[in-house]
Symmetry: C2
Subunit: 358 residues, 2 copies
Amino acid sequence: MARVYNFNAGPAVLPLEALQEAQAELIDFKGSGMSILECSHRGKEYDAVHAEAVDNFKKLLGLGDEHAVLFIAGGASLQFAMAPMNLLGSGQTADYVNSGAWALKAIKEAKTVGAVNVAADTGKEIPTRVPSAKELKLTPGAAYVHITSNETIAGAQWKTFPRTDAPLVADMSSDILSRPFDAKSFGLIYAGAQKNLGPSGIALVIVRKDLAERAPAKLPVILQYRTFIEENSLYNTPPTFSIYMMLLVSRWMLKTGPETLYKRNAEKAARIYAVIDAGGFYRGTAVKECRSDMNITFRLPSEALEEQFVKEASQQKMKGLKGHRSVGGIRASVYNAFPVEGVEALVAFMKDFEKKNG
Amino acid sequence: MARVYNFNAGPAVLPLEALQEAQAELIDFKGSGMSILECSHRGKEYDAVHAEAVDNFKKLLGLGDEHAVLFIAGGASLQFAMAPMNLLGSGQTADYVNSGAWALKAIKEAKTVGAVNVAADTGKEIPTRVPSAKELKLTPGAAYVHITSNETIAGAQWKTFPRTDAPLVADMSSDILSRPFDAKSFGLIYAGAQKNLGPSGIALVIVRKDLAERAPAKLPVILQYRTFIEENSLYNTPPTFSIYMMLLVSRWMLKTGPETLYKRNAEKAARIYAVIDAGGFYRGTAVKECRSDMNITFRLPSEALEEQFVKEASQQKMKGLKGHRSVGGIRASVYNAFPVEGVEALVAFMKDFEKKNG
């Protein structure tokens, strides 16, 4: 089996041992005589999966009883709507930070629900960056403050989260559980699973239970966080296989040790940024202080060279390095499950490519 | 490998060959060096999966260009909200038929969105049934008429769909593509995939494109059918693995031949109902004219016998026969992928159980 180095931004590389376990038991789950895909969501086999997945993410995020861990079908894009639908009361304003494409999507969706104040806007700046805490123009009495912890496309990341009076809400799709942070200090965190957590089509949602009570009574039941809290994400049939995959990934994280993973992530990113900074050939897309450890974005001297870079890397089994169609350039996504050897291969390739074309 | 006979109502039995194919290529999809779970939703590997899945369901449902085939994360429960959000304008009324637990959930959710007229109500009748077309008290100028083609819990099924002036909307979660029907005559069809189509956490949605234009401009983008139509269900990252599994199931359907499957389904159900009708021991839950070919519900002379029935069947590798917690009794769900041999085993067991306990 020839696994490639998969730099995709998401869906992205998963831990090989999680895939191997899923493969081994795909037709007969734990001797049940059926696939996990065929198990009832009310039966004992799936019950155990669900309960352990909730527990593992609670443990990994260091959460107590104040927050609920939810699994909601639909990715972060549905959360762009659900967050304001649940938390933004009529007559209230929500503060949003625009730091790039994903923040902007969240803002646009929130505006269909209620009043939005853009508290800072670095969305169009090149080099890309997130604002500093002191740049934020916050609304007194805001319903919440929304940030995008890591801009997957721009490659910019909040290194220190702002302290706000209003509850802090974060889209952490592309960097949740990739570094230590204080999850308990957030009002709401949501993350599409397809980067650091599992398959696409599901979001991990962490919500402070008291905030979920804000949802208007007329909101459809299936769009209320309250419903998911009360029914432990089993109000309707959840995406059982996706949660099972997230369980396998969470087990791998606990086994590897989150601190080990976090340290490894920082080192992986540092090695690539070191090549970018070594000469004038590569040019980082993001301001140094905001560089993402998950999505490393950079440009080459010309678009022709960028195209050649992607092509030659692909021939050497490094896939998915093309930057997002909206910004061009190169993007190396190196999530938790991305192996150190893949970073070593990229670093060697970058040096070689620079030597030949610089 | 000892596969059991899986009578689960959903998630439910899948075609063995679909599971085997998924298993074989779970770590290396078509020589790409990555899992289908890891492939980009914008890359050529997944593109081919997505396009073929759309085509196959269009073909299986006999649809032209008037309707769109959509994949939407979240199951039928999200569609209970999305249908009225998109199709029920302010000042309009939607007619809903209450035929049981699932119809009632759809009604409750629609009421959070707009005005609902319950056009007929057989929801609490025992034996269970769906109303006849002539019982419906429809609203002139209604936004649409909503039915539940098959009540999974009650075991009652529409055998002929009503003809209505307003667009007909159907929750077909538990019987879509299990029998011939004229999909083109519907305004909207939605179905949670976890019964006849694939894994849980995703819905197949068929919508007449002109109806999707009704959605109010202020509706969040991710909740508009329009968005999914315009972007071919790729506005955001779709549940790629789920769509891949649905592709494998659709291929199996096309290979087997839908007419063969439909005939087999009718025969499977008829064999079980024949045992129910043969003596006075078993008692069908639904009115004969409305009996579901997918979810065969029946009672035994006592709850103690029902419990014993489920237990002994389980010992003989027949799993998931316990009726839904809300109604009790026995439910044998025999979806497309449920094998004829499993029906033969159940029939033999039922006869034997009656002889011993009748």
